[in-house]
Amino acid sequence: MAIRWSQYPAAPHYDELIAPGGLARAGAETVARHLEQLGSLELSVRQKAAEAAVKGMGITFTVYHEEGGSIDRAWPLDIIPRVIEASEWRLIEAGLRQRARALNMFIDDIYHAQRIVNDGVFPRQYLLESANFRSQCVGISPPLGVWAHVCGSDLVRGGDGTMYVLEDNLRVPSGVSYMLENRQVIKRVFPELFAETNILPVDDYPSQLYDMLRAIAPPGIEHPEVVVLTPGIYNSAYFEHAYLAQQMGCELVEGRDLAVDDDDCVFMRTIDGWSRVHVIYRRIDDLFLDPEAFRADSTLGVPGLLRAWRAGKVALANAPGAGVADDKLVYTFVPDMIRYYLSEEPLLPNVPSYLCADPQQCEFVLANLATLVVKPTNESGGYGMLMGPKSTEEERRQFAELVRANPRNYIAQPVVQISTTPTLIDQEVEPRHVDLRPFILSGSDVQVTTGGLTRVAMRKGSLVVNSSQGGGSKDTWIVESGH
């Protein structure tokens, strides 16, 4: 079947590939023309080839089921790439870099002098009520002053074409391995496009991550031992943990492989006996990290790990307590942080947000529940939200009670008309909503992945991009045009 962009039903949303009228956007001309030439039948054949490649390469993610434990599923990948023109990307990248710097300065400030609080920019009350503030971290100075070494920020494009930051994931953000693997597969699927288009490469991430981790090792260690700490094979992101450890040439350890001695040094159990560990890229949440310091019932963690970190004998990335800035209420203050710490104007806007913690704004939210999205401040993955326009009166009534009972716990945003991009659905090309998660590494400098992981909601009209809930993914192409 032929693909005719002039008949592609992008409206009423902003489409990433095709402008109104059926013309390709800047940077996407070659891709659009090529897809048109291939036709949807050939695309379906290549989609099948891509799915076979995903299966053969063993690219999987884990889904939990109440019965039967966890299931390993093939990673869903739609072959039509999501294209961003390089000059636009450079602006986004600068915005992300600025954001990561400000967030790290905020976390460091919060655990030290709290200047931003004392100067009245960030209300003390909000800090006291934060679920992710860790008193155990007060006064600690991690190497380079960096807390959130790896940040995954979710971006969405609104109806007017503006790219907004939706949230910043500073705890254990995942997805970067899929970004890298998607590129491997798509290179096999469209070799001819890679030959004729200037698509910027993405392969460098594991070595950048490794260099960053080495840079935060305790001082005086010439050859630091860097390890990746995973909760184990049943974690939904286990694939990624193993992938990154392999790409970096590091040991992939579980909590039971590690121990802390009386001198607060961390060791791993090897065939030669105990061996010292200097840097841990941990993919376990704060609360499970160390049963001595946090949840005593955690079997995933390492007793004494926090003690070792506080003593400076081991570096943890991300640092414990970094999650204090991974809170949707704190998120609303990021533009203010950028102005406060960097004396710069934010390059990337937030989605406009209303704080229910503020009585006036809360009244506005309660009066307009039917048109707003209300989100809990401490959840991730789209849980516990109210989608106003799609809700029933009864749901809104119940939600209003929740908000009144605990206003600190909620923010509200107008519904963003998230952009779409062409996606292969039952052998036809149709628009589907997408977001974008770039990854930002902060060490001695700040680096941003080229593009990021594009997630796509495969159901028509749906905004849910999570792979556990039927979302798919795409390769993201940063294309240098005009060559």
Binding site: Q246, E251, A259, D262, C265
Partner: protein
């Protein structure tokens, strides 16, 4: 290398070796059944005995018909020693140690897992069985070749060599045991020509027929085959050769002195045993003791590298130490 990873690597090699041996057993039993007169044929029961699954098989109430046994040994996920179960274990392990193996190794094991799950039915029917088993044997040998060709010398490779050779020694001794008890010659028996066919099939199940002829320059006779498969120093599937290779791997690993002594002792005992003079009962008793010794060695390997008590020294001048078993 992490103890947990070493444990996994060791077992990955054992499971993959088991997959290969199962394929060989099914293949040769099938061809043996075609060569022998119906009333002489050993049937399919020996496969159950060799794989040590007798109790489970009986508990299922299965008959010993060809299709039933082959399905049980190849395709039954409820049988923990079946080919699909061994591959599922191997794949699960390979997935957990993707960080230490080259990508090709993982993709290869994953590919074989997918193939066997999609084609297990081919093993049941005689018409497609040979091609299926040949694919499996070739794929496991490809894995061995990959390890040799693209994995650097190091603990991962050595633990795999250790696991592979321990599994192989175990399997070869089981095969000799089960076949020998059923087939060692009884004087004056009129069926001796067929006994030769059976012993040739034993050699073939281990791809050892050709090597046996080259090495011994003799015709196939029972005690000769038993002696060759247990005590030959050069044939890679002979017990003594497996033990020697396990020792080679251990030589390169730390803290292996005690283990090496045990294996060397065991190897000497096998080498010096006069198999020509053993009665069937004495041979059976000998193999029992050999298998027990192999099991003890496995325990020692686990204690030394994977799970034993280990003391974490304090870094300070203190003389005390803290146990973290």
């Amino acid at each position: 290398m992490l103890s947990r990873v070493a444990d996994n690597v060791f077992w990955l090699a054992r499971y993959m070796e088991r997959v290969e041996n199962l394929a060989r057993l099914v293949e040769v039993n099938g061809s043996l059944m075609l060569d022998l007169p119906r009333d002489m044929a050993p049937g399919w029961q020996p496969l159950i005995t060799i794989t040590g699954a007798g109790q489970l098989f009986a508990a299922q109430g299965y008959d010993t018909a060809e299709a039933t046994v082959v399905r049980f040994v190849v395709a039954d996920a409820k049988n923990p020693g079946s080919m699909v179960s061994s591959l599922a274990h191997a794949r699960e392990i390979a997935r957990t140690i993707r960080d230490i193996l080259p990508r090709e190794v993982w993709e290869h094991i994953n590919g074989l897992f997918l193939y066997v799950n999609d084609h297990a039915a081919d093993a049941i029917s005689r018409g497609t069985r040979h091609a299926f088993l040949k694919h499996v044997i070739l794929a496991t040998q490809t894995l061995t070749g990959m390890l040799e060709g693209i994995v650097s010398e190091g603990p991962a490779l050595w633990f795999m060599a250790l696991g592979r050779n321990m599994e192989r020694a175990d399997m070869t001794s089981r095969i000799v045991d089960v076949r020998a008890v059923a087939m060692l010659p009884v004087h004056g028996s009129p069926l001796r020509p067929f006994a030769t066919i059976q012993w040739m099939s034993v050699l073939r199940s281990l791809s050892g027929y050709h090597m046996y002829r080259l090495k011994t320059r003799q015709r196939v006779y029972p005690a000769g085959v038993v002696s060759y498969l247990l005590a030959d120093e050069d044939f890679p599937r002979a017990c003594v050769c497996c033990l020697q290779r396990a020792e080679d791997a251990l030589q390169r690993l730390p803290n292996s002195r005690m283990l090496l002594r045990r294996l060397q002792r065991l190897r000497r005992v096998v080498t010096r045993t006069p198999f020509e003079k053993l009665s069937p009962d004495a041979l059976h008793g000998f193999i029992d003791r050999l298998q027990l010794a192999l099991a003890h060695t496995n325990d020692d390997i686990a204690r030394t590298y994977f799970r034993g008590e280990l003391t974490l020294q304090r870094r300070a001048a203190s003389t005390q130490s803290q146990s973290l078993g």
